[in-house]
Subunit: 229 residues, 2 copies
DNA sequence: GTCTATACAGGGATAGAC
DNA sequence: GTCTATCCCTGTATAGAC
């Protein structure tokens, strides 16, 4: 993958948009199941119910298809998590109350989303597996569309809350990353990014402990302590 | 990989131990560089300066070789980190002072070890990539020899320190996991488990912030606060 | 009797031709 | 949409060498 100049976005003017969608959706499933190397273009074409020639008409080669799918999957997952964050966090921020409970609910749903939607987690795992073979600019774009975007969205909310005295977040990006570490990364690691099941009870315990630690570090009580100095 | 009964330990009585070592060392490098699927037995034999037939005399097939190498690599990394922990942490525990500084030094060196020894990190990445194809018992053994062993070793030290009032650790395993999350996982994630370089300055900042958060949660001051209630 | 060297059978893969 | 050229991989088999 490393040699060519990664024309991921410039995939030419494809003909039938619905065929293109069928291909990317099938490729998402197959790459997710098998990883990049094991996945075959035959299997993708079959899963899309499309001729292999059609696949090559829409995407120059296997690598281009994979990287396209990876970017798309990251963007979709980010969008879904953004909706989750909006639903769980923004209302609480307005009311100024129950922020801790809102964070706990969001964290739990986020962790469950990883375990439930095997699709996106599997593609993310495939990206991580191939990371040394991915052109730097594409990897950059993937991070930008996925993890970085999620962190920024969280950081923006934390910054607003900090201004309202709902928590401490002098460096919102760092605080957002810390929230993710404490409430998400443990589950992600234990499940190998959604590949293996994790008992619901373990998820709840991990998330609760993470939110608890986060709140002790950055919660409203900490605000009061700092203010009391 | 999933179908057969994973005879990883029962690799038959091979003849020349030095050949076996040459093969496992070469396989560690090749599997680390290429991952399981891309790595070829020809390349491993060449890298070991050994005939391909000899490789198959020592290891039944590619899968057995890979899993053997993965377990070995995990055990070696655990041993190295154990030495690091003994050197950095045990002395501080005895003296009862500068525990925070010892933790900071240990965390920094651990993160640097991941980035420096590409070998073990790369094999761990290959395991994570293949996790869905690895027999459950072998994965269990890998966790046992690697991450779980590391966490237990840390937890044991934390438990001792907690008894001496040097930190709070009602649940040592959870506290050990939290220490790893806060001071290690961020670097691991950002570097894709050692695949990509991370600026030394970023490592230092991340580790320092992580140790700071950990100490606020579990450090001696927290002990005093709890005692003061 | 283990190791080297090499060749080969069988299966799949990509990517392009018809 | 099928067919195929070309390549590579695993695992085995067949030689001979220390």
């Amino acid at each position: 993958m490393g040699t060519k100049e990664s024309g991921v976005t410039a995939t030419g003017g494809a003909r039938r948009p619905e065929k293109r969608r069928a291909i990317t959706e099938a490729a998402t499933r197959v790459f997710g199941r098998e990883g990049f190397v094991r996945a075959s273009m035959d299997a993708i074409a079959a899963e899309a119910a499309v001729s292999k020639r059609t696949v090559y008409n829409h995407f120059a080669d296997k690598e281009t298809l994979f990287l396209t799918v990876a970017l798309q999957s990251a963007a979709e997952l980010t969008l879904r998590l953004e909706r989750l964050a909006a639903a769980r966090l923004d209302a609480a921020g307005e009311e100024g109350a129950a922020v801790r409970e809102a964070l706990a609910a969001f964290a739990a749903e986020r962790a469950r989303a990883l375990l439930a939607s095997g699709e996106h987690g599997a593609v993310a795992r495939a990206i991580r597996a191939e990371v040394v073979n991915i052109p730097a600019d594409v990897l950059e774009a993937w991070l930008e569309a996925g993890p970085d975007a999620e962190r920024r969205a969280l950081a923006a909310r934390f910054a607003v809350w900090a201004r309202r005295g709902l928590l401490t977040a002098d460096e919102p990006e760092l605080v957002a990353e810390r929230f993710t570490l404490l409430t998400y990364q443990g589950v992600a690691e234990r499940s190998f990014w959604g590949a293996l099941p994790v008992p619901e009870e373990a998820v709840e315990r991990t998330v609760a402990a993470g939110v608890d630690a986060f709140w002790r570090l950055h919660g409203a009580e900490a605000v009061r302590e700092v203010a009391a100095l």
